[in-house]
């Protein structure tokens, strides 16, 4: 299974995303923002970073890139797409997911191992989690405060489209402690925290068992591979 990872100017975590896909058992395929050829990949990851230097608004210019336009088209046909951090911002700016992301309420960049609850395990990227499972993966953002209109929040909650919720601490002032969302079909998922940084023992968050042993992020990528095999 081939999972594409788009690199925009200013992307940081494309290599980490590629590594996560490899460790999960997939084949990572590097994709370039200016190229509208998605190389027949089976899924796409929009990685974290600061695409186009966060000019205009985070993710706004990346949403107009030739590669992103193809992703939007294919996502509407069911292609699994995961947007991480800046990738989540790109999904929101592309209108594949509703709402917006604004500067953290406390105005500071924040970097921490973040506990989350998996609220929806019926998506292409979360099907290997238990519903209600608690996981810990790194979070690092300056503009991660999720906002939407009252009607949108109500719709997201009623349709079970909040996929991840912050636990113990809301790190950025997101409404309803929302950390991640999915679209109606469940193939597109966006979240602020970084699963690709918690995929290999020795390099993840600390756990009760051992320091840096947390690999809760691996299941995101394994879930996509499972979804692809079953489709």
């Amino acid at each position: 299974m081939r999972i594409g990872v788009i690199t925009y100017p200013g992307t940081l975590d494309d290599r980490d995303a590629q590594r996560a896909i490899r460790l999960a058992g997939g084949t990572p395929v590097p994709l370039w923002h200016a190229d509208d050829d998605l190389k027949k990949v089976d899924a796409v990851v929009l990685p974290g970073g600061f695409s186009y230097g966060d000019y205009l608004r985070c993710g706004a210019i990346a949403a107009k890139a030739p590669a992103t336009k193809e992703v939007i088209k294919k996502a509407q046909q069911g292609l699994p797409v995961l947007g991480i951090c800046n990738g989540f911002q790109v999904l929101v700016e592309s209108h594949l997911l509703p709402g917006g992301l604004i500067r953290n309420e406390h105005q500071h960049f924040i970097c921490r191992d973040q506990k989350l609850r998996v609220e929806n395990n019926q998506t292409a990227w979360t099907n290997l989690f238990e519903k209600g499972e608690e996981i810990v993966i790194p979070l690092k953002n300056g503009e991660g405060g999720y906002i939407a209109t009252e009607d949108t929040i109500k719709m997201l909650e009623e349709e079970n489209r909040v996929v991840f919720r912050y636990l113990e601490l809301n790190p950025n002032g997101s409404m309803n402690d929302i950390a991640g969302l999915t679209n109606e079909r469940g193939n597109v998922v966006g979240l602020m925290p970084h699963p690709e940084h918690a995929v290999e023992p020795g390099f993840g968050p600390d756990t009760a068992v051992a320091t840096r042993s947390g690999i809760d992020g691996l299941k995101f990528f394994q879930s996509a591979l499972k979804a692809l095999v079953n489709s």
Partner: protein
Amino acid sequence: MPKIIVEIMPKQDLLDPQGKAVANALVRGGNKDISGVRIGKRIELHFDREVTKKDIEEAKKQAKEFLSNDVIEDVVAVTVEN
């Protein structure tokens, strides 16, 4: 130079952290009567010819769909300087 000027402001009911930080600094600096600051954007679209009605329509469309995000911002003015 002929230009179209698009002005964008963060929505009224949203916290504007940048404006808040600037307001704090102004008040600290002795401007006790300033009760708030909000910071928006002015975007100039330049032309090498006169701006047409069609250009303005397109600029309004781009202002709404690309230059601003209507979840967090309002386009407050689109004006022309020919």
